[in-house]
Each structure stands twice: as structure tokens, then as C-alpha cells.
Symmetry: C2
């Protein structure tokens, strides 16, 4: 009988590993470093060795393990092939095949932002929902779409890439992707800093933000203290993100919308501002769709990876 599953979240500097019971109880979590040298050729063998060591330590036999799920920073095809993962040094790599042959366990793989959404839909902020949109606000804006409890990968692995929704075609600065006016330029940590710096230049107004290092956190802190310039920055951020989520809801009409990532640590004030702008822009049948904060933080990836085992 299957009693365990592993969830692995591969990042550019470390690999988060989780040992789960079948019902999603996290039994153990640990990390190993990501060795990207030599085109990242040690990454999968390191993971396999770490899984085998954990099984030995816990006295778990191979027959008790349902499988290994892996989230990676890059696109992943439906059958588990990565065309490229720049942060890991990988070119084309069939990670599912390789992992299965290294561990002798069934393996599944997915894109990390999608996998995090799956984790939150399984055991996090959208637990129990089978139609979920998640926006992850970090250095960039990532996202994931869950349909019928499964990741929607898209024809080019680009489903859920709402960070590149073109919200402002007249934006003069260009996004990392080469386009102009992507949501990521307004709603990521760096996007919020960009909006704040623009506001600080354009307005002569006094602001707490003139006295501190301008970060996304500093903007939300100043907003919490009633700083009116910071308020305008938060309004602009919320208006872009709220409208972007409202358009996303016109496309897939989810049960729940989640906001996660480092920026979401700003918590309730951020959520309230985004909800207000979402409601303005949303199509009538979707105006009441709940928008919630993600709950699993950095563990969303290992939960989602573990869930992959029975959903892909």
C-alpha cells in the first residue's frame, strides 16, 4: 500500500524537499543546495540521493512510495520535458524519465509557479476549490491556473503567465520580456518600487519614502502610516493588479483567486486595496469571487509537487 509521496521544489540556490503522507500531512522537510555548475548535471542525482537517504533514515520501502513530484523554474511539457531552465544551467532535459530511472519511483514534473498554485489549491488558501487562479508577486509576477484540480499547462507551457498580461500599451519602459506595459512592471516587488520612484520624481510632496530605501515593503509600511504619496502608489498597484485579475476571471472564471509571493506579506491592507479595484473591473457574475492570501508561503512548492503525483 502506498503511504508516502515526495514533493521537491527546485530553486536556483536551494532545493526544498518534503516527505508527505498520502493525505498531504507533511512528515519532514529539508533543503539541499542547488549545484548549477556543469550545466546543472548534479541536480537530479543529488535529489535522488537525498530521497534515498531519507527513505533509509525513516525505514521506508520503495513499494510504500506513490511517487516523486518536482517543480522547476521554467516551462515543462505535459510529458515532463524541460526545453530549458536558465537558472539551473539546464538545456533540454527529460526530467521525469531521468528521475524515474535514478530513483525507481514514478515521477511527475511541473513549472514552479504552477506547482505552487496546485499546492495552495490542495492544502493552502484555496483548499477544497478545484478552479483556482493564483498570482505570485515576487521579483516578477508569476501565476498558475488550476482547472478541475489540475494544472493548466497551456500549449507552450505559458498558461497562467498573467505577469505578462499587457495592461498599459503606452508604457515607455520595457519589461524583461521585451514588451511594454506588462502587469509585472506594475505589480511585482520591482514594479512597485518603479511606480514609487516615478511618483517621487513627479510629485513634490513630502513622503516617508523620501527618507528610507524604497522597497515594496517600505511602500506598504508608509501606506499603513497614512503616507499619501505611498497611498497613490498602492492605489496604482492595486488598480493594475485588480484589473488584471478581473480580466483573468473573464477568461477562466475561477472559484477562488489567490495572491502569494513575497509582496503578499503586506497582508490585509494589500488584499483590501486589490479587492476594491477587482470589484470595480470585474464582470458582474464574477464580482463576488473571493480573493484570498496564499497560506503556505515557501512550502507551497513542495505541497504542490507532492500533489502532482496524483493529478498530472
Amino acid at each position: 500500500m502506498k503511504e508516502y509521496r515526495f514533493g521537491i521544489d527546485v530553486g536556483g540556490t536551494s532545493i526544498k524537499c518534503g516527505l508527505f503522507r498520502m493525505d498531504g500531512t507533511l512528515e519532514d522537510r529539508w533543503e539541499i543546495p542547488t549545484r548549477t555548475e556543469g550545466h546543472g548535471e548534479a541536480i537530479l542525482p543529488d535529489i535522488a540521493a537525498s530521497i534515498q537517504a531519507k527513505m533509509k533514515e525513516k525505514g521506508i520501502r520503495r513499494e510504500q512510495v506513490a511517487g516523486v513530484g518536482i517543480g522547476v523554474p521554467g516551462p515543462v511539457s505535459a510529458d515532463g520535458e524541460v526545453p530549458q531552465a536558465v537558472n539551473l544551467g539546464w538545456g533540454r532535459k527529460h526530467i521525469v524519465e531521468e528521475m524515474e530511472s535514478l530513483t525507481g519511483l514514478p515521477a511527475k514534473a511541473g513549472n514552479d509557479a504552477n506547482v505552487a498554485a496546485l499546492g495552495e489549491a490542495w492544502k493552502g488558501g484555496a483548499e477544497g476549490a478545484s478552479q483556482v487562479v493564483m498570482a505570485t508577486l515576487g521579483t516578477g509576477v508569476g501565476g498558475g491556473i488550476i482547472i478541475d484540480g489540475k494544472i493548466l499547462p497551456g500549449a507552450h507551457g505559458a498558461a497562467g503567465e498573467i505577469g505578462h498580461a499587457n495592461m498599459e500599451p503606452d508604457e515607455p519602459e520595457s519589461c524583461n520580456c521585451g514588451n511594454h506595459g506588462c502587469l509585472e512592471q506594475m505589480a511585482s516587488a520591482t514594479g512597485i518600487v518603479r511606480l514609487a520612484k516615478k511618483e517621487l520624481i513627479e510629485s513634490g510632496e513630502d513622503s516617508i519614502l523620501r527618507t528610507v530605501e524604497v522597497t515594496a515593503k517600505a511602500v506598504f509600511d508608509a501606506y499603513g502610516q497614512g503616507d499619501s504619496l505611498a497611498g497613490r502608489v498602492v492605489d496604482a498597484f492595486a488598480s493594475y493588479l485588480g484589473r488584471g485579475l478581473a480580466i483573468t476571471a473573464c477568461v477562466v472564471d475561477p472559484e477562488v483567486i489567490l495572491i502569494g509571493g513575497g509582496v503578499a506579506r503586506a497582508g490585509e491592507p494589500l488584499l483590501k486595496a486589490v479587492q476594491r479595484e477587482y470589484e470595480k473591473a470585474a464582470f458582474a457574475p464574477c464580482k463576488e469571487t473571493p480573493i484570498r492570501l496564499a497560506r503556505l508561503g515557501n512550502d507551497a512548492g513542495i505541497y504542490g509537487a507532492a500533489r502532482l503525483v496524483d493529478t498530472m
Copy 2:
């Protein structure tokens, strides 16, 4: 053995009916009037009687029929209930249950715009693709999303409602839905007329459009004759629609995007303009996603309804 299926497309004035072979060959098509009086209580019995008459005429036995699919103008829940269909006079109605008891045949139901997308994905402009986005440009802008060959209904029956994507939050005029700046206000037949009338007032320029009744067709005709004012209207239309489709592609990343509906009869010039604007706004992995014209015209609904029988 199952040899036939029926596809029924219920409109506000007439009901289109199709008798199909299992492989999708259209054997016969006919229409009956939509009797909306008395809260539309005659509509389903009329359809059932028409199906039974057709079976008798063709000597088809009940055991030979796989089922009846029905597309209706309004939201439809996953189990076949309509909360309301204003154009038909219906309040809450469980059409699948009613149809099954009237005909003794298995029935399935879906929203008409979604069903048209399914028809085009089965036997039309996206034949062979299983991930499809379709925009239907008529009086309004409807849409449908096909995922893994099936309609994505959404949590409130609102998936694919890209006509209500909020593209221009500062638009002063309001959409029929009550919001401001919906794609429908720019990319429907009435939206194009609205853009043209605004341009005719704001610009002093000579234009063919000053000498004819301004319709979407007149705008594309004038554009075809090199009219520069009409050119600006087409550019504005294409920029909104192209960007709306590009954002949609960031969300679901389809294999094929289709444009259908009456406005799409403008054909290649419309398609070229939209493709150009789509490419500008689309995220890199989706820039090459083909955008095509729908092919089944008014028959998309009966094809899609017939297809419902084996996909919902």
C-alpha cells in the same frame, strides 16, 4: 449501435436543428420558430416533437441515437440547469432533465457562445486542436474556451466572457453590463460603430463614412478602399481586440485563436490587423499562436451542440 446525434441551437427567434452522423457529418439541418410566449414553456416540447418527427421521417430508432446536445443563450451549470435565459423568457429551468424526459434520449446543454467554440474546435476553423480560444464578434463580443477538447464553463458560467475584459478603465461611456471600458465596447459591431462615430466627430477629415450609414461593414469597406479615417477606426478596434486576445493567451495559452461572428465576415483585412496587434502585445512564447477565422458560420452552434453529446 449508436449512429446519430442531434445538435440544437436555441436562439431568440428561431431554433436551428441538426441531425449528425457520429463522425460529425451533417445529414440534415432545419429550423423551427422559437415560441417565447408563456415564459417559453413550449420551447423544449417543440424541440422534442421536431426531433421525434425527424426520427420518424428518416426511420431512425431511439437505440440508434447517442443523444441530444443543446446550446442556449445564457449561462448553463455543469449539470445542465439554466438559472435564467432572458431572451427565451426562461427563469430557472433544468433543461437537461426536461429534455431527457421529453425525448427519452440522453441530453447535454451548454451556453451558446461556448458551444459555438466547441463546434469550431470539432469541425471548423480549429479542427484538431484541443486548446482553443474563440471570440465571437456580433452585436456584443462573446467567447468560448476549449480545454482538452471540452468547454471550460467556469465557476459562475462566465468563463470565456472576454467581451467584458476591462481594457480601458477610463472610458466614460458604460457597457451594457454596467462597467466601463469592456472589450465589447470596442470590438463588437456596435463598438466599431461607436469608435467610428467618435472619430467622425473628433476629426474634421473627409471620409467615405460621412456619406453612408455607419455600420461595422461600412467601416471595413471604407478601410478596404483606403479611407484613412476608417483606417484609424480599424487600427483602434484591432489594437483593443489584439491586446485582449494577447492577455487571454497569457491566461490559457491556447493552440489556436479563432475569430467568428458577423463582424468576422470582413475576413482577411480584419484578421491581418488583429494579428499585427496581437503579436505586439503577446508574451513571447505565444506570439506565434495562429489566429484564424471561424469557418462554420451560423452552423457552429449545431455542430458544437452535437459534439456536446460526447464531451460534457
